[in-house]
């Protein structure tokens, strides 16, 4: 049974759409792909039976659906190159048009230095604050692998931030 209450959907959309777009855009690095995936994810939320779920579960379902759609695209596209090249070009166009400070561009370019899966892992862990089980389900990896993958992604981001002088180099 599909979602029937349009007003409830509109409210849910208002609370989640921009955050979802930001997640998909920063993971794929492509605004057009982010537009498509976000719309597709919301269409699936409307047609699925998520109305009885609470807000947090609906939000998790939405991010999981968008993540699955991204993973489908990764599998279709020619792997790691996808996203990274278009990301840099896109960063200077759409998002920077409304938010054009240099630190922002540095931040975006640094994040773009990660692999798409690392970007997704870090976003879901730090921004959405999902637990390992939810991240595993969203990205189609084993629950046990999330801890290792996340640890590597954090170390990679730390190295990128150090290389750009955005954090001080520690001597561990």
């Amino acid at each position: 049974m599909a979602w029937r209450d349009e007003a409830a959907f509109t409210a849910f959309y208002g609370r989640t759409a921009r955050g979802l777009w930001a997640y998909v855009y920063r993971t794929t690095g492509n605004a057009a792909d982010a537009d498509d995936i976000v719309q597709e994810a919301f269409c699936r939320v409307v047609t699925a039976n998520v109305e009885p779920l609470d807000e947090e579960d609906r939000r998790r379902y939405l991010f999981r659906t968008a993540s699955n759609l991204m993973v489908d695209r990764w599998r279709r596209a020619t792997r790691e190159q996808w996203g990274r090249e278009s990301f840099v070009a896109d960063t200077t166009s759409r998002v920077s048009a409304t938010n054009d400070s240099r630190p922002h561009l540095d931040t975006a370019a640094t994040f773009a230095g990660l692999k798409p899966r690392e970007r997704a892992l870090l976003w879901l862990a730090y921004v959405e604050e999902h637990d390992h089980r939810t991240i595993a389900s969203a990205l189609g990896v084993g629950k046990g692998s999330v801890k290792v993958l996340l640890s590597r992604a954090r170390a990679r981001l730390r190295d990128l931030l150090e290389a750009r002088g955005m954090i001080g180099r520690s001597h561990g």
């Binding site: 509109t10 409307v46 759409r94 976003w123 520690s170």
Partner: protein
């Protein structure tokens, strides 16, 4: 010289990463341009309707294929069954 492997993050590095992610999320979310919710609702409604129509049409498509197949089988059976009679009729017609 090979850099030592440093997989573990210190507390301050973890805080720096959390701050970085928070700043990135804030700037990207603020700049996000998403379509109006009623457009997405309309699109979802259309997709849902097309899917319902497709599902309703599926048994008819299956029956149509079955119908054509059974018709062909019946034609072949009829031909084989009547072949001797047709053959004798043609033979009788010859002078």
């Amino acid at each position: 010289m090979v850099e030592p492997v440093r997989p573990q993050l210190t507390e301050s590095e973890d805080r720096a990463i959390a701050g970085f992610m928070s700043a990135l999320a804030a700037s990207t979310t603020a700049a996000a341009l998403v379509p109006a919710p009623d457009l997405v609702w309309l699109k979802a409604s259309l997709v849902q309707r097309w899917e319902a129509e497709r599902q309703a049409q599926r048994p008819l498509d299956v029956m149509q294929s079955l119908h054509v197949g059974l018709g062909l089988v019946a034609a072949v059976v009829l031909f084989v069954w009547s072949a001797p009679a047709l053959l004798s009729a043609f033979t009788a017609l010859q002078p």
